[in-house]
Amino acid sequence: MPLGKGFRLLPESASNFAPQVDVLFWFLTAVSVFMTLLLCVLVGFFAIRYRRRNEDEVPPALPPRKWLEISCGLGLLGVFMVIFVWGAGLYVRMKQPARYALEIDVIGKQWMWKIQHPGGQREINELHLPLGVPVKLSMTSQDVIHSFGLPEFRIKQDVVPGSYSTQWFTPTKAGEFHLFCQEYCGMNHSAMGGKVVVMEPKAFEAWLAGVPVDDSPEARGAKLFVSYGCLHCHGQVAPTLAGLYGRSVRLSDGTVVTADESYLRESILNPAAKLVAGYPPAMPSYRGQLSEEQVTALVAYIRSMGASRGDDLRALPDADAPVTRPVNGIAPQDAAPIPPTGQPPQVTRPPFGEKPQ
């Protein structure tokens, strides 16, 4: 964690948002300092000028001045509304990701950060980024609530188990910066940090190429699907999984649920919780046999099974099945196939910093 930085009073500015947040911060500080000084001067002045000179003195009553109260109240309301609108406007912009953002997955777990680049490169507690390219983080937690906080970038978002949260920014300064977990998560909360390394685009490409690449989550999930025997039942005596993601499912007790990530995850780890109508409760639980990451990979694989693949799951799913979400701004149908393990990615994409045609 130590990044070798010296004592400072203000953080560095490393993202597109940092200067904007800082300007608003300084405005707030100017208003606060002014009001505090005004109060201190007035109270100090009155305490001295009107100090009790005689123990028996009784100052006369003064008439009420409603106009003073109302005008001060309205004036403050005006200042507060300026701050509110300014802050809300900037916040809305912070919540609308840039269109062509580098999508990076983040999984927080007690007590580490697992980061995955779109090409399959993985990092633990470090995030390498190219300078000047907008990046969008899709984050979830494996266990409790964490928070992915980057102070020099002025961004932070809680990472919640069972759902995906996102935040985005564009790094504007090369260097190493702090990554902190900012939501208390148990014993080693204060050790759950790392660093963000922002590099020039060429250096970043070189770094990416040098990282040994595992399969993408979907490819790994496909392999697990085979090796754990899911193939033997699903599509025959068990419900078909093609096109399942996002669809409504009727359960044996009559209720209807949507097959989202949480449903898929629960069905793998606790299949008895929600039984699909018309099927026997024969699926074994995989709790204790699959790690959280393996479950995430399976969920990603099932998510990627489009309806177009049909019900024929007896054929081995191929490792270069197309992914369903855009990567680096390229729609799935335009993406090149994912290469087999061990090879660097050979996706034809424009160099970093340029928008695709």
Binding site: V58, F84, G87
Partner: protein, 572 residues
């Protein structure tokens, strides 16, 4: 009735002239039993005072250990696990076993009946039951502490607290539940008392502003605390019966807990500051010897804060995954709730104008309150502002903000109130020089402890960290140095006030020449407060009508020689 005179028992023989009326509430019955079974609101106030002082120093000891650990970047003194348990117990004790009860159960219990001319609270037995519930809750929390504590943070966020923590969560939340129940009863008692037991002439427009604050606080206590109780119950149900309410692994929703928790805990912070406002509204007119500027604005602001305070809880959750639109609404409302507080500060300042200002210890505390509360409140604007809150939430900026308000505000107001009403409660004066020295230590130590934390927060240092990057060390060392001075500042009043309660110079009925019904009775007051039902004919802070000898107050035969009227006993 304890004031019933004895008779000889024979109709035609004159009754012996005997005075067996006890002098005051302190001396009437000196046995432990008479204290532990008392129904006298003044004695119950002292029972609470002893309890909350005890808990304050336990919570303070936890904070001392935390600040010692934070002298160095690495975990050299304590393990991370112990540190986590310390900050949790510091929060739990300071909030539920010290701040929430503090002024209402001590000064509120003691003064509200006196201020409105009543003999006691509406439900004296319920008052005593409140204290016993509070002690039961405190005892359970202490047992949990001795059994190893709890490591979830005072906020008990799920699913960590409901499905992951291996510490004494259920024991602690049961303790908090009981303490919360105690506070609901206290709030109920005050509401009924203020509505039904005001003496003749005490209209709402003549009610002291301290009573207005206690009233607003009581409304929040009664409406908000049940939500906390239920949120904690749900955690208990999830932990004991494994019902997945908050655990997403089995279909629960972790954010549901945050909404339930903060729906209580935001109004709770107003529970923790409104009584402080009430104390300051009493101190300033007395020590400026001038009626409060804008009485109805100050009274109305307490009620507005109580109301709007229920609508802003989402500002604790801006980065939690809550919707953007929800965030915008909560941000707007959070800015609105700042305005009534600002109006109060304006009115206090304007009260000093052309007054007669005396800088005795209570006034020093009142002025310290104004400065520190304003700084804390202004930093609340940073946190209400959405874009800046993204950077500052979960950092030391928030820690500094709430300590400026709760410690720099509420604890300061509490000490100011204790010093102001000390002569009334104990019948003795404390040494003024000691009061001023302690106030100085507290003011200086407090600022040195918590101002560097604003800087740390903007730099990004997260909360609840047992260790931190080296570049944050200088500011942390400053903060710990300040904490040591602050600790001395808090120990000093413990010493000289305890000494003065027994050995201080005897105080008269009204050493500060203050207005208010409590100053018209002896110090300490008699058991039944007023020998006859008083009648109020003046506004609350009629300092301009004060005679040179001292406050005039309502017409009361016992305390004003030469009074013209003997009010009829209207029976109670």
């Amino acid at each position: 009735m304890s004031t019933e005179l004895p008779t000889s028992g024979v109709p035609y023989l004159p009754a012996p002239v005997v005075a067996v009326v006890p002098e005051n509430y302190v001396l009437e019955g000196a046995r432990i039993r008479s204290w532990l079974l008392t129904r006298d609101h003044k004695r119950i106030a002292l029972l609470y005072l002893a309890s909350i002082t005890f808990f304050f120093f336990i919570g303070g000891a936890a904070a001392t250990l935390m600040r010692l650990e934070l002298l160095t970047p690495n975990r050299e003194l304590l393990s991370a696990d112990v540190y986590n348990r310390l900050f949790t117990i510091h929060g739990v004790i300071m909030i539920w076993l010290f701040l929430v009860p503090s002024i209402p159960t001590t000064l509120g219990n003691f003064l509200v009946p006196l201020m409105i001319g009543a003999r006691d609270l509406a439900m004296p037995r319920l008052n005593l039951a409140s204290w016993y519930l509070f002690m039961a809750g405190g005892l359970l929390t202490l047992i949990a502490l001795l059994a190893g504590g709890v490591d979830t943070g005072w906020t008990f966020y799920t699913p960590y607290s409901s499905a992951f923590s291996q510490t004494n969560v259920v024991l602690t939340i049961t303790g908090i539940f009981l303490a919360g129940l105690s506070s609901i009863f206290t709030g109920l008692n005050f509401i009924v008392t203020i509505h039904t037991m005001r003496c003749p002439g005490m209209t709402w427009g003549r009610l002291p502003l301290f009573c207005w604050s206690i009233y607003a606080t009581s409304v929040i206590l009664v409406l908000a605390t049940p939500v906390l109780a239920m949120a904690l119950c749900l955690i208990g149900i999830e932990r004991i019966f494994h019902v997945p309410i908050f655990d997403p692994a089995h279909g629960g929703d972790p954010l549901l807990f945050q909404h339930l928790f903060w729906f209580y805990s935001h109004p709770a912070v107003y529970i923790m500051i409104l009584p402080g406002f009430g104390v300051i509204s009493e101190l300033i007119p007395c020590f400026a010897r001038k009626r409060i500027f804008g009485y109805w604005f100050v009274a109305g602001s307490s009620v507005s804060i109580a109301f709007i305070g229920f609508l802003v809880w989402g500002h604790h959750m801006f980065v939690s995954g809550m919707s953007i639109y929800g965030g915008i609404v909560f941000s707007f409302l959070s800015f609105l709730v700042a305005i009534p507080s600002a109006i109060k500060v304006l009115n206090w300042t304007a009260t000093l104008y052309k007054g007669s200002v005396s800088l005795k210890t209570p006034m020093l505390y009142a002025m310290a309150f104004m400065g520190l509360f304003v700084i804390g409140g202004l930093t609340g604007l940073y946190l209400a502002c959405l874009a800046v809150d993204v950077h500052l939430t979960d950092t030391y900026f928030v820690v500094a903000h709430f300590h400026y308000i709760m410690v720099g505000g509420m604890v300061t107001a509490f000490l100011g109130g204790i010093h102001f009403w000390f002569p009334k409660i104990f019948g003795r004066l404390y040494p003024e020089w000691a009061g001023r020295i302690a106030a100085g230590f507290i003011f200086f130590g407090f600022n040195l402890t918590f101002f560097p934390q604003y800087v740390l927060g903007y730099l990004g240092m997260p909360r609840r960290y047992a260790g931190y990057p080296e570049e944050f060390q200088v500011l942390n060392v400053m903060s710990t140095a300040g904490a040591s001075i602050l600790a001395v500042g808090y120990l000093l009043p413990l010493v000289y006030l305890t000494w003065s309660a027994k050995y201080g110079k005897p105080a008269g009925a009204n050493p500060w020449k203050a207005m208010g019904m409590e100053w018209t009775v002896s110090s300490p007051p008699p058991r039944e407060n007023f020998h006859q039902v008083p009648v109020v004919t003046q506004e609350a802070y009629a300092y301009h009508e004060m005679t040179p000898q001292g406050g005039s107050g309502p017409i009361l035969p016992m305390s004003r020689p030469g009074a013209r009227i003997e009010p009829e006993w209207s029976g109670q």
